[in-house]
């Protein structure tokens, strides 16, 4: 039965997408068919698909925030992270897969932003699935050409003196931004620091929250 969700928000506060309540589309039908064929042929199981989705749902920017907070409090870890982010985060216990991961550090003079102009490569093991805008034509087209204007649309107005570096991800090379630690946070614990680290601050379209 189609339901009318138009005036409702989901538990997470986001609007339901039309796909949830419109008649079966061609592509949805193809998804069901492929999934069933793969199960019938022993390529996968319904349980494996469900557990993949659980794993996907359990990843969130909190993972990345924990990494950033560790780098802020532990200079040795910070050095490891900048040297080889994949190994450093694996040591923290995150499953980041076989891909290369590069952490790029924001400083007083340099601000980094990540994008995937090809499609949607994203440090999903540390941040969860990419937000819709990250996959949008507008972001991918424009951030490489006029990053400052795009950042202003996120409410981030960088001084002209700040160098902006845009990093274009590829299928096997992903980036995460190590944002600069906010001023006045010397006394905060690692977990208090992690709470300041937003998703967008690790993409580079934002900066961490300020303390207090």
């Amino acid at each position: 039965m189609p339901h009318d969700h138009h005036d409702h928000l989901s538990p997470s506060g986001h609007p339901f997408r039309a796909d949830d309540d419109v008649p079966l589309s061609y592509w949805q039908c193809m998804e069901i068919a492929i999934r069933e064929l793969l199960i019938d042929k022993g390529e996968t199981t319904a349980a494996e698909i469900a557990s993949q989705i659980d794993a996907m749902d359990s990843r969130s920017p909190a993972n990345g925030a924990a990494v950033v907070a560790r780098a802020w409090v532990d200079p040795r870890f910070r050095a490891q992270l900048l040297e080889n982010a994949a190994d450093a985060t694996r040591e923290m216990g995150f499953d980041i897969g076989p891909l290369n991961l590069i952490a790029v550090e924001n400083t007083a003079d340099v601000h980094n932003v990540i994008v995937c102009t090809l499609c949607s490569c994203y440090p999903r093991n540390l941040l969860g699935l990419p937000p819709d805008w990250y996959k949008s034509r507008a972001y991918r087209s424009r951030v490489v050409k006029s990053p400052r204007a795009v950042l202003r649309e996120f409410g981030l107005d960088l001084p002209e003196t700040t160098t902006v570096r845009v990093h274009d991800s590829t299928a096997d090379m992903r980036y995460i931004v190590l944002p600069a630690r906010p001023a006045g946070t010397e006394r905060l614990s690692e977990s208090e620091l992690a709470a300041l680290v937003t998703r967008d601050s690790m993409i580079g379209t934002g900066i961490p929250l300020s303390a207090g």
């Binding site: 986001h14 039908c29 193809m30 069901i32 492929i34 793969l38 698909i49 102009t117 991918r140 087209s141």
Partner: protein, 101 residues
């Protein structure tokens, strides 16, 4: 598309539908089974032409790319896919009915 003109950013977010999450899972599983690489998916996406980026949603493009790669890898045939899709359409009008949950 990097560098091409485009409009203002839309910062709204939708909840991922179950079928979209399943497409994502199929991408990871198919790739882990060695049936395709991200490059293979990318090639299929490029082959769709620019129109696909205007007319199809993100996960619609992905399921189409996964399908092309799985057929090329010989995991199933287009005939098998067509038969199964017809069967699924006959089950009901909505995703929930057609997917049997």
């Amino acid at each position: 598309m990097g560098g091409q003109p485009a409009g203002a950013l839309d910062l709204s977010q939708h909840d991922f539908a179950l079928w979209e999450k399943r497409v994502d899972a199929l991408m990871i599983i198919g790739s882990a089974r060695g049936h395709f690489t991200v490059d293979g998916l990318r090639r299929a996406l490029e082959d769709m032409g620019e129109d696909a980026f205007e007319t199809m949603t993100y996960y619609e493009r992905w399921i189409a790319a996964i399908n092309q790669n799985l057929v090329e890898a010989g995991v199933y045939t287009l005939e098998e896919l067509g038969l199964r899709m017809a069967e699924i359409q006959a089950r009901g009008d909505t995703y929930g009915e057609a997917a049997n949950g």
